[in-house]
Symmetry: C2
Subunit: 428 residues, 2 copies
């Protein structure tokens, strides 16, 4: 089936500003609530949120096999379950509905009134109910930086890293959409030079620049998904800030991995950009040496050229961009991650989320965490307002943005923006 | 509100054999499917499964505030969400309905026909939709054994272990009820003395003897649950076999913890035994030294005296009991685990599951895994049929049983039984 929604010559009768992340070629999927407390599945063109539930009720999806209430739901899980063919049919249909030359909705004022909202008038919700969330650790530069700081500078990469897309399970219940503030977490830490741990708010709260992909039902328990087929089970991608408390992490993580240092909050951008929309930005990954085992071996281009940046905005002054990176630096691809995840028969469901791991580029200004950017706090970052940051301060907002760009087209994710609030007042 | 369902003098008009795990004082909760494909929430007395959906439709829960379809659901999540007061009201009511002296259902043949099934005629399903699953590592004996084998025999316990109920996130999608067979998983391993990993079926599949507790909605994101209040948010417990592939685990687990070595399958017993039913078996925990930090400190008895055993049954011969242990050996209590889990504001929802970690006792015959029982395969176990086991063989069934016993009363869990099938045939 042609993916004609990607045609760069298409324009919409909805206004799209020049540098918008959301031209008619994007058509991402999300869930929003209107001022009248209606929750619906929707898409976005320019600065307009489109109510797909209303579109469905008005008959705009006729001819596509969908359950009657497919878009009148508060999560995308059922739609994602329907699989790649349906995603493409719906995305093509949306492209047609908003195509410049199509008068059907364009010239129907009462329908437009029901269907189209200013983006500022809706609140974005979590787009999927995330059953299971896995975080990978697939940036070689990040793994090397962490290894240098915490283990052995001469043998920074652990022996398994070049053979395994290392990953671990995370917590679904604290994944929140952009805009939800996060409190500085409490926890146990071991102060430098001490032997007894202390309890209190984390002193070293950090962001992690990541992306994440959302899956459809990929397999039954016991059945691996091959690396060749894996991309068919990936619905789309979001930006992801994997909030981390470095002092809690350092004390707790041996031997079973990070736990409370990570599960206090994880923030995602609310619009899932489909793999169909990202197709024009497919590119090569870094060379893999040694060659991966056969179940992870793939040919062709499986990376995506996605520009990423992180800004820190203090409460009352302007933001400072602290990192510029790119998703294409990842050593392991998403299809390798998914093939590895299922090779033991682990079941993957619709709405599961898999994080890339911190995305660090090759240069110091492309590192994906304050831990790396300030090299463990040794080299504070200068902010535009003259203050310095080793880690994230109370009331700072961390903003991650991402977009793809070629000569004719920009496809973006918008942003994931979340404010770090002070620790709550607790008496324990 | 009195918890009178626990009265040991009560007897039921339903037959309960002498050593049954399910006297009228138990009243566990589960979900089953009948031969007519009806899925319902139910309880068990003796060898009878009770259809609580049918009981509700017939008016037997009148006077208790419940949504109309509370028990006509395929998970217990909504019921568990209703909180401790409702659990107790329903359990007391069930005790009354089946009380020897109560003729209402006893003498109504047509109602009995609808409500009561032989346990052999129903299939037990997963009792809850598990949003997030966490596994702890709270047996000091187990952590010490593993530390001796894999790290430093002189410093077997890691420095954080006595201060933190160490835990990590697991995979919800592959938690299955007793009776579902499990395939030997594929994965990467590093053969002894080699530097390049190989791919194939795991050679060292193991069980882990655990229990798990199921929570109700405990908090909002950002709000800790105090150790004092934690027990109020625990609905009940199940037996838990945390299947593990030791060779995959050894190669993959540094630095982010076990992943594919664990997430191919985790098996639980299908009846959730409530904390109310376990109340008579409350007992002291091992002394905690050093004293825990204030947020983990508690007084009184917070352990439970639950006898546990593990049997291995080869395909065609009789079973051999390979371990006898007790839940009371756990160093950290469930309330400490839950308080720790939420101290950073991590949200805990209805139906979340938290595993104890492998439960090993102080003696060699009370260890909770083949890894420990055979000391890494060095001391194979003799089976009754004359064969030996270092780990679990294809077509072996692993059975975990658990029960509490005092002079007057036995409250049990039944069993979690699952067969290890050979690796599937895959071409990669």
């Amino acid at each position: 089936m042609p993916n004609y929604a990607n045609d760069p010559s298409r324009t919409s009768w909805l206004h799209v500003s020049e540098n918008s992340d959301f031209p008619i070629q994007n058509i991402p999927f999300g869930v929003f609530i209107t001022k009248d407390d209606v929750i619906t599945i929707g898409t976005r063109i320019g600065d307009y949120a489109i109510d797909m539930g209303a579109l469905q009720q008005l008959g705009y999806f006729e001819g596509i096999e969908l359950t009657d209430d497919m878009f009148m739901q508060d999560t995308l899980n059922d739609f994602i379950s329907d699989g790649k063919k349906t995603w493409r049919l719906v995305r093509n249909r949306l492209s047609d509905i908003f195509l410049d030359s199509n008068p059907v909705l364009r010239d129907n004022a009462s329908h437009k009134d029901i269907v189209i909202f200013n983006i500022a008038d809706v609140e974005m919700l979590l787009p999927v109910q995330i059953g299971d969330y896995t975080d990978f650790y697939s940036s070689k530069e990040h793994a090397t930086n962490v290894g240098k700081m915490f283990r052995d500078p001469e043998n920074a990469l652990l022996p398994n890293w070049l053979h395994i897309p290392v990953g671990y399970h995370g917590r679904s219940s604290t994944i929140v959409p952009s805009g939800i503030p996060v409190h500085r977490p409490y926890g146990q830490t071991l102060p430098n030079g001490e032997t007894q741990p202390v309890f209190g708010p984390s002193k070293l709260v950090d962001f992690e620049l990541e992306t994440a992909f959302i899956t459809t039902d990929a397999n039954l328990m016991g059945e691996p998904v091959s690396v060749k087929d894996a991309e068919d089970y990936i619905f789309g991608m979001v930006l992801f800030n994997d909030w981390s408390a470095r002092d809690i992490q350092k004390w707790e993580y041996v031997p079973l991995g990070p736990f409370l240092a990570k599960n206090f909050a994880s923030s995602i951008s609310p619009w899932i950009v489909t793999m169909d929309a990202l197709e024009p930005f497919r590119c090569a990954s870094p060379e893999q040496s040694p060659e991966p085992l056969p179940y992870l071996k793939q040919t062709g281009n499986h990376a995506f050229d996605i520009n990423l940046e992180v800004a820190i905005k203090p409460e009352t002054t302007e933001e400072t961009i602290v990192s510029r990176s790119n998703f294409k630096y990842m050593y392991w691809t998403m299809s390798q991650q998914l093939a590895h995840h299922t090779v033991n028969g682990c079941r993957v469901n619709s709405g599961d989320m898999m994080g890339s791991g911190t995305i660090s580029g090759p240069t110091e200004d492309s590192f994906g965490s304050m831990l790396e950017l300030t090299w463990g706090g040794q080299k504070p970052l200068k902010m535009k307002d003259g203050t310095e940051r080793k880690f994230i301060n109370d009331n700072d907002t961390v903003i991650i943005r991402g977009y793809c760009q070629n000569e004719g087209l920009r496809i973006g994710f918008g942003e994931v923006s979340s404010k770090l609030l002070p620790a709550i007042d607790i008496k324990i």
